[in-house]
């Protein structure tokens, strides 16, 4: 089966080509079938290869497949090669699995849009790019997927391009991502310069030999790669595109926030964990950026009123957790959270889509309320997701988040401060999630009468994906239970072969240290659960039982509230400090450098060439005699030159 690895990205590509080339000629049903079937096929093959991989002994769980040489040029040999190991196996399962659910959901969601063909074309291209990114066995091929994902996000966020806000958001996503890509590219160049190869296998094998551990070179490389990761995975300072990305259709938000795109940065860091283990300073930067982003985005989410915007900041915050995990060298915890997050975040976005659908495209939670009794399935599934993301024991988010918190405390790269930040953020998370639940589904019905009449539960093709995701959100975490529960952490063991051998100490680090740490782990876990429960209680008080209290607080702390509501004015700050000067500089380049200097040069040289062309054309008289003369002239010169020598 692993011989058919290439089919995994190929199927979505075929779907993209079919739907794209026959755009507007296929009936809706056929478009839907092509789009979903191609992803379903990719998913089925992913499952099969996963089990095939699992059947192998842990230390040889690598399947490589080189399709062909892409760039043969001197020492630069780049293959279209695929690499299946425990890490990419998890990723393709998540990408195709969640992607498939979102595709099925989209059938119902996009049913009323005349541009459904274009939509599914882009969606399939998105899947193809992401699968390429994940399965690539070298940096450059990965970069192809990396760029493809960026392109698709631009196309899909700006899907309703006639809306200015949507096309602006698309451009913003693309441009911000390009900044990150630049870092990634430079990092890649340095790697090639130093190692002489871009293949993951070679680079990871050579890295400990070529680079001095903790040296400035490897630290630079890791930081540059991390710049790329902050762009794709929406971390400070390049997170600004993600909240705007909700301008796209909701399934797109789900796809971007959950299964694809934003996970790329985390995946890339996990993939290059060998390099990061050699650069402790870079690891610390990753951890700090992750922790700060987690906290910072969670505070913004507290005050937002747009249901999708809350979720968007929540994604930024959760991604911060993943980077925090990577930063404390617990890459498997980061990937674990990536997986559970993709379940519950997809569920939250699809649920929000269902709410917006029911509310006749209203996204402002201030005009919702009391929806719980009208759209029960949506309510229950979203409640499950909220419990999961808040980290209520038993739900998947609990296991993954707890793992990260514990590792940020106990890992040799960790620090209690990281734990404190993560701990506080967990409380904030529970608060803003239940604020969302209470504002949307409980309390007074604040919508106008006409909207109220239209409230209806979504069709089966939308609710069934919600239910599937709800089940996954609950059980998805059970494969990664911590050791103190008396079970073996399957997930961590599964990823062990991929993680830097030797230099990385797995789980046992904490356990070996003695029983005191076990007690500590229980204690920290209990503390975070308690905080979460308290936060939920506060959310209930503020937004359900005593709404006047929320208003009073808002008045009392209006300064802080304004800052949070305006997202710390970061967009404004970037506008003033980066965008404005850039525009001025561009104007200079345009009016002075381009129009006068470059155009002048170009037009001047064009004039010269046209003159030369014109005079040469005169030689081309059409008369045989003059041709023969020219010919003989050439012969004489040639023979003379040869004989004189």
């Amino acid at each position: 089966m692993s011989d058919y690895l290439y089919l995994i990205p190929l199927f979505p590509l075929i779907g993209f080509l079919l739907n794209g080339l026959l755009l507007g000629r296929l009936p809706r049903v056929v478009v839907n079938i092509i789009a979903c079937l191609s992803v379903a096929a990719a998913f089925i093959i992913s499952v099969l290869v996963f089990f095939e991989l699992k059947a192998l002994p842990p230390d040889v769980r690598v399947i490589e497949q080189t399709l062909f040489t892409w760039i043969p040029s001197g020492i630069l040999q780049v293959n279209f090669g695929l690499l299946l190991d425990p890490l990419s196996a998890i990723m393709i399962l998540v990408v195709t699995g969640v992607g498939l659910i979102i595709h099925i959901y989209s059938i119902g969601y996009i049913a009323h849009d005349p541009c459904f063909g274009r939509f599914f074309t882009y969606m399939n291209l998105f899947m193809f790019s992401m699968l390429t990114l994940v399965l690539a066995d070298n940096f450059l091929f990965m970069f192809v997927g990396w760029e493809g994902v960026g392109l698709c996000s631009y196309l899909l966020i700006g899907f309703w391009y006639h809306k200015k806000s949507a096309s602006d958001a698309g451009k913003k996503a693309f441009i911000v991502n390009r900044i990150g890509d630049f870092g990634f590219l430079i990092g890649m160049f340095i790697i090639f310069w130093e190692v002489g190869s871009l293949e993951f296998r070679v680079v990871m094998e050579q890295a400990p030999v070529v680079f001095i551990a903790g040296g400035s070179l490897i630290t630079t490389i890791c930081l540059l790669l991390f710049v790329g990761a902050t762009g794709k995975s929406a971390q400070i300072p390049l997170y600004v595109w993600l909240p705007d990305a909700m301008e796209g259709p909701t399934p797109v938000s789900a796809l971007i926030h959950a299964a694809t795109m934003v996970t790329a940065g985390v995946y890339m860091i996990a993939r290059t964990n060998v390099l990061y283990m050699l650069a402790p300073d870079a690891l610390m930067v990753v951890a700090i950026v992750g922790a700060v982003t987690a906290f910072f985005a969670a505070t913004i989410a507290l005050t937002q009123n747009d249901i999708k915007r809350v979720l968007a900041y929540s994604t930024v915050s959760q991604l911060g957790y993943m980077f925090l995990a990577c930063g404390v060298a617990s890459f498997s915890a980061g990937i674990f959270h990536l997986m559970t997050h993709s379940f519950f975040k997809a569920l939250l976005f699809l649920g929000a889509g269902s709410v917006i659908h029911a509310m006749s495209d209203e996204q402002d939670m201030r005009r919702m309320g009391g929806l719980g009794k009208h759209i029960k399935i949506t309510y229950i599934t979203m409640l499950v997701a909220a419990l999961t993301i808040s980290g209520i024991p038993g739900f998947s988010g609990f296991f993954s988040k707890d793992e990260i918190l514990w590792k940020s405390f106990s890992s040799q790269h960790g620090h209690p401060i990281f734990w404190v930040v993560g701990f506080v953020t967990a409380g904030l998370t529970a608060f803003y999630m239940f604020r969302l639940i209470y504002m949307t589904f409980h309390g007074k019905e604040r919508m106008d009468e006409e909207t109220r009449q239209h409230i209806h539960e979504s069709s089966k093709s939308m609710t069934i994906p919600l239910m599937v995701l709800a089940v996954l959100s609950v059980v998805g975490g059970w494969i990664g239970m911590p050791h103190i529960f008396g079970v073996s952490n399957f997930f961590e063991h599964w990823l062990e072969p991929v993680m830097a051998g030797g230099s990385y100490e797995p789980v046992s680090h904490a356990l070996a240290a003695g029983g005191g740490d076990v007690g500590m782990e229980w204690g920290l876990m209990a503390a975070s659960v308690a905080l979460v429960l308290v936060s939920i209680y506060f959310a209930r008080t503020f937004y359900k039982t005593k709404p006047q209290l929320a208003t009073a607080w808002r008045k009392k702390m209006s300064g802080l509230h304004q800052v949070l509501l305006n997202k710390y004015y970061v967009d404004e700050f970037y506008g003033a400090v980066i965008v404005r000067p850039l525009i001025v500089f561009s104007l200079f380049l345009w009016k002075v450098v381009d129009v006068i200097l470059i155009d002048g040069f170009v037009n001047g040289s064009a004039l010269v060439y046209e003159g030369v062309s014109e005079s040469l054309r005169r030689v081309q008289t059409g008369r045989l005699r003059s041709y023969a003369t020219l010919f003989v002239f050439g012969v004489v010169i040639l023979v003379a030159y040869f004989v004189m020598d």
């Binding site: 043969p72 041709y627 020219l630 023979v639 030159y641 040869f642």
Partner: protein, 482 residues
Amino acid sequence: MIDYTSAGIDFGLIAPEIALLVTAFVILLISSIRRLNAFPIYIAFIGLVVTLALSIQQWSNQESGFFGMISCDNFGIAFKILFSATSLLVLLLGYRYMIARGIDRPEYSALLLISTMGMMVMANTTDLVVMFLGLEIMSVPLYVMAGFARRSLRSNEAAIKYFMMGAFASAFLLMGIAFVYGASGTTELRRIVADISFISSRHGAYIYAGAALILVGFGFKVAAVPFHSWVPDVYEGAPTPVTAFFSVAPKAAGFAVMLRIFLFGFADLEILSDVFWVLSVLTMSVGNILALRQGNVKRLLAYSSIAHAGYIMVALAVGGEEAVSAAIFYLVAYTIFNLGGFAVVTLLETRSGCRSNFSELPGLAATHPYLSAILALFMLALGGFPPTVGFLGKFYLFAAAIKSGYIWLAVIGVMNSFLSVYYYLRVVKASYFETSDEPFTPVSYTPAIVAVLIITAVGTLGLGFFPQQLLEFSRSAIFAFL
């Protein structure tokens, strides 16, 4: 190296040539007995397919026969494959055009086949006299084909001009061969190689003059500046499918011979590299500059074909295995996308009254989105844009130049391709962005031309993404060459 003394008569070595000749004669016979228009073209098609199969079958053969007159090595076989495939495509793309213009006479197919056979003879020998023989077998049918539209004044003009200049060039070539024979006592390249230092020390002037005159003769065929002046008039006047053939096949044949003579036979003449350096730069620059201001697509492609000859000559200046295999790669790639471009022009000209001036292009994109996209693809390939094979072809050529230290040659080459983008994009601009008051007459597709368009377009893009096969092909083609 092949041992040329142990050479007997082995018809297997010239099986493709025989197939072509037999087919051509069958066509001529049938057409004289029964006036059936449809038959000859099918016979020619079958004959070419058989030839192609026979040529492919010879691959990795290394033999010589006919007393050293024919050497059947991978280099020659590669060109056999190229020539028969080219002929096949030209036959397909011209079918409807010839009917539309009322010049679909059976002799056309026969001439095409005989000319192709001449090219094969040229590429599969190391003897100068046999090369000349091949050249003439190739050229005489070409003269007739140029004037195939008997009632068209321009076609007649093309034939006369091509013939006069061709005869002129042949005279110089023959003179050159005579000089070389006089100096060395042989026309066999392998013997010349063996004795070159001895020969040039004794009869230096003659061998040099001979080399120069041979260069003139073949330089004419590949349209090197300053022996290029016939190209625009002939290309414009000849029927378009014939022009398509002119622009690729004789050029490839000329280069096949030049690569053999100058990089193998006269490899030790140091002066050659400098001469080719100058000729290459002159050819690409003059071709590109003259193309800038053309108002006719066919004439533009004529000049562009001169410029492309200049790029390939980079390989002659540089020498060495990598350059030769890059040249073969480029010849194959160029054949594909240039034929593609001509296929589009032919298709457009099948409509009555169309002479493929720029002013006739507006409206193409709006009415024929696929056709204009394909035209744009070929133009981008000609200009050397990735991801088409045109980019890779130039890349390998210039990379070979840089590796051997010819930095400036590569720089000039790149500058020239940069310049060429201007006029290629003019075609794209005219078909996409310009408007015209007259409605665009729709073209009628035929299966044959659609097949050509698909093959060339897929080749242009596909080989751009997956060049491996073609790379291996061009690398093994030089096995036993140097």
